[in-house]
């Protein structure tokens, strides 16, 4: 058992650290300069740190899969507070899909500008009537000459109002069974037939949008995979979303923030962190975070050695969600009076308190995650769902 990374990996870590130190922060110290951020990310790609899974001919750095190296890169970037690899839907979901299912023309056309951030993507999966039961979606596309004509509505599409394109699931084979009538289309959002309406969230900010298609058009060859293959394609794509390890670093930084908050806030005339109830709950949260961290390390080690991590791999998402919500609850206890006002010093914790709720919804609700743990992890009988054989 070895918790360190071993000599070869530590040498790699030193190399990454040296590289980052030479490139960040920028010479003029302006860490907010978009051009500098972009230049840093390009340098990281050229060095083989970013876009590792993407072939060079599409603008990636084409490195052999090595999740330990990937983790070391993430850790060092975080330590240096340098610009992290862009992890939006285009990069985490679309590019792997194009690499697996796309045509050569699609890869040439879309991957490189997406990596550079020139093309931003929105995901078009959910609909008002199709949430957890995604396959019941009704937005339809009909092939008219050399274009698909699209009508319908998507919802919960994050940052669609700033995106250039959408990767969407639409029904192209209305006569086929539910799961076999869906295709995966790429759609230009900046056209007359598309209306995008940002939804105002409970945080009073707008991230996700409604997107309406009213005879919107997309070229016939902007379909990924064949007609009716959209569902199969998406099953592989969503696996990328749920399997990501990035949740760990997020909960870790939340926990560190929570400890700082407990030191800042006061309770009974003393720092809240000295209060036994607060202290014990903070320690309990830390233990839960440690359990998640080291079980993830175990899962990584198993994957590297070609073993199947089993039960734990079905629970990584909900485990992060539960931890984030427990952190949010203790933050709520710490805020006390500050929970009442949006103009107080702890505004960001009020946002986090609310945002933690969205984690149990986005990317597969926690109740759906529990079904996955029960059925795939524990082997309990599958529920019979309408429309399934």
């Amino acid at each position: 058992m070895e918790l360190g990374f071993g000599a070869a990996y530590e040498a790699f870590r030193a190399e990454v650290r040296t590289f980052i130190a030479a490139h960040w922060p920028p010479a003029d110290g302006n860490v907010k300069d978009p051009a500098a951020i972009r230049a840093f990310r390009d340098a990281c790609t050229a060095q083989g740190y970013y876009a590792r899974a993407v072939p060079r001919r599409y603008g990636g750095s084409e490195q052999p899969a090595d999740i330990v190296k990937a983790e070391i890169i993430r850790e060092e970037i975080r330590r240096a507070d340098a610009p992290a690899e862009v992890r939006d839907g285009g990069i985490t979901l679309l590019i792997p899909t194009l690499l697996e299912w796309g045509t050569e023309a699609q890869r040439q056309r879309f991957i490189s500008p997406t990596l550079k951030g020139d093309y931003r993507w929105a995901q078009g999966f959910s609909e008002p009537g199709a949430g957890s039961d995604l396959a019941s979606l009704r937005t339809r596309a009909v092939l008219v000459d050399d274009h698909w004509v699209i009508n319908g509505q998507k919802i919960w599409s994050s940052y669609a109002h700033r995106a250039h394109y959408m990767f969407a699931l639409v029904r192209t084979e209305p006569e086929a069974p539910k799961h076999e009538g869906i295709s995966y289309l790429l759609i230009d959002l900046r056209q007359p037939g598309v209306t995008i309406r940002p939804l105002r969230q409970m945080t009073d900010q707008s991230e996700f949008c409604e997107v309406f298609f009213d005879d919107a058009r997309t070229p016939a060859d902007w379909i990924v995979g064949g007609r009716g293959q959209g569902w199969r394609i998406t099953r592989t794509t969503l696996k990328h979303e749920r399997g990501s390890l990035s949740g760990l670093s997020w909960t870790d930084s939340m926990l560190r923030g929570l400890i700082r908050l407990a030191r800042e806030m006061r309770r009974d005339g003393q720092p809240a962190i000295d209060h036994p109830t607060i202290r014990a709950e903070l320690a309990a949260i830390e233990a839960q975070s440690m359990a998640l961290t080291y079980s993830t390390y175990r899962a990584i080690s198993m994957t590297v050695h070609g073993q199947e991590p089993g039960l734990f791999s079905t629970m990584a998402k909900i485990a992060s969600t539960d931890l984030a919500q427990r952190i949010a609850k203790l933050a709520r206890d710490l805020l006390a009076d500050d929970l009442l006002v949006m103009d107080g010093p702890q505004r960001k914790w009020i946002d986090r308190f609310m945002i933690s709720l969205s984690m149990s919804i986005a990317g597969g609700t926690s109740n759906i995650q529990r079904n996955i743990i029960a059925e795939r992890g524990l082997g309990l009988p599958r529920e019979q769902r309408a429309g399934e054989a």
Binding site: M1, E2, L3, G4, F5, G6, Y9, V68, I259, A262, R263, I273, P276, R279, A280, L282, A283, A284, E286, A287, Q288, M290, A291, L292, T293, Y294, S295, T296, Y297, R298, I300, S301, M302, V304, H305, Q307, L311, F312, M315, I318, A319, D322, N367, Q369, R370, N371, I373, A374, E375, G377, L378, G379, L380, P381, R382, E383
Partner: protein, 355 residues
């Protein structure tokens, strides 16, 4: 990073698992708890023959010279099978002598503990949740007087390692009187002991050795808790696949599915935490106190909750004496309370984290 068991570790756990499947069948555990007069001597002998008591002790004492992670894996399996054996007290006695004993004391006692020719135990508690070295009031000089409480297998033990204000002290059989307690967990009996001017041998005064012994105890309890809690999840899940109501297995109902998923979710990630705690004991001693306290608190809480949830999943049959559920529930209560409750260990962890 290679946070995995070695091939040898997998082999040892496989061997032990098949031994326990054979020699620690639930019916045998029920026999022991119904007789309520001690541990399963035959099973203990088989564990001794396998080398369990000497796993972490040096080769020159007859041991295997392995690490805390190896011993913790054994504890996990014993927890999984609710093994009624005097493992905890015996291995902690040997480990304490290893950590703090003089060369003479080690040479005198360790080979006998390894071979199982004597049974050892540890006396840590003093009542009112005083378990830890800075709380010990019993004083050892030339002689030892006073009391210790909730000592595992004190009546059967030949050698007792006693926590005192002067550090760890060894007392031999015949120098204490033991009062049998009506233990909740009948797989691990507990006695209160009294010393009257007892003949005693102090170990070297090595405070960090005493601390490491306490950390080891916490880690072994956490590992036992993980094994037991995993078994609770497995038992409840298996039952949900078999038991039918409304014409279908109850495990197909979403309400129960989610209960079982939540159980698994509160238990399974704990494996990484107890592995980590054991690994720090072996490789990162500066972090071991904190990690061991966190593991004890987290895993023992999770075990007790999982055992309660299991009873609920079984329904009425789970509340009966002949069912296995109460064996695990009571074992979980032992793990939870022995050496101090989760909250106490969390407050210790907070202090060790520098909060």
């Amino acid at each position: 990073m290679n946070f995995l068991l070695s091939d040898e570790q997998v082999m040892v756990t496989d061997t032990l698992r098949s031994l326990l499947r054979d020699a620690c069948d639930p019916r045998q555990v029920h026999d022991i708890i119904d007789r309520h007069d001690g541990f399963d001597a035959e099973l203990w002998q088989r564990l001794v023959d396998l080398g369990v008591p000497g796993l972490m002790l040096p080769a020159e004492m007859g041991g295997a010279g392995l690490e805390m992670i190896d011993l913790a894996l054994v504890a996990e399996l014993l927890g999984e099978f609710a093994a009624p054996v005097p493992f905890l007290g015996h291995v902690l006695c040997g480990l304490g002598i290893r950590l703090c004993g003089t060369p003479d004391q080690q040479a005198r006692w360790l080979p006998a503990l390894v071979s199982g020719s004597i049974l050892g135990t540890v006396a840590l508690g003093e009542g009112e949740e005083c378990w830890l070295p800075d709380e010990w009031q019993v004083t050892a000089g030339d002689r030892l007087s006073g009391g210790k409480r909730l000592v595992p297998n004190a009546m059967a033990a030949d050698l007792m390692l006693v926590g005192t204000r002067q550090g760890l002290a060894l007392v031999e059989k015949g120098n204490w009187t033991a009062r049998r307690r009506e233990g909740v967990d009948r797989t691990r009996s507990l006695e209160d002991v009294t010393f009257h001017e007892a003949s005693v041998a102090l170990l070297d005064r090595v405070p960090e050795g005493v601390t490491r012994l306490i950390d080891a105890a916490a880690i072994l309890l956490a590992a036992d808790a993980f094994g037991g809690a995993s078994r609770c999840v497995a038992l409840a899940t298996d039952y949900a696949k078999l038991r039918e109501q409304f014409g279908q297995p109850i495990g197909s109902f979403q309400g129960l599915k989610h209960q079982l998923a939540n159980m698994a979710l509160s238990v399974e990630p704990g494996r990484g935490l107890y592995w980590y705690a054991a690994h720090t004991w072996d490789a990162l001693p500066g972090k071991a106190g904190h990690a061991a306290a966190q593991a004890k608190a987290h895993l023992c809480d999770a075990y007790l909750q999982a055992a309660r949830d299991m009873v609920e999943a079984f329904g009425g049959i789970g509340f009966t004496w002949e069912h296995d559920a109460h064996i695990y529930l009571k074992r979980a209560m032992f793990d939870w309370a022995w050496l101090g409750s989760p909250v106490r260990h969390r407050l210790r962890a907070a202090q060790l984290a520098g909060w």
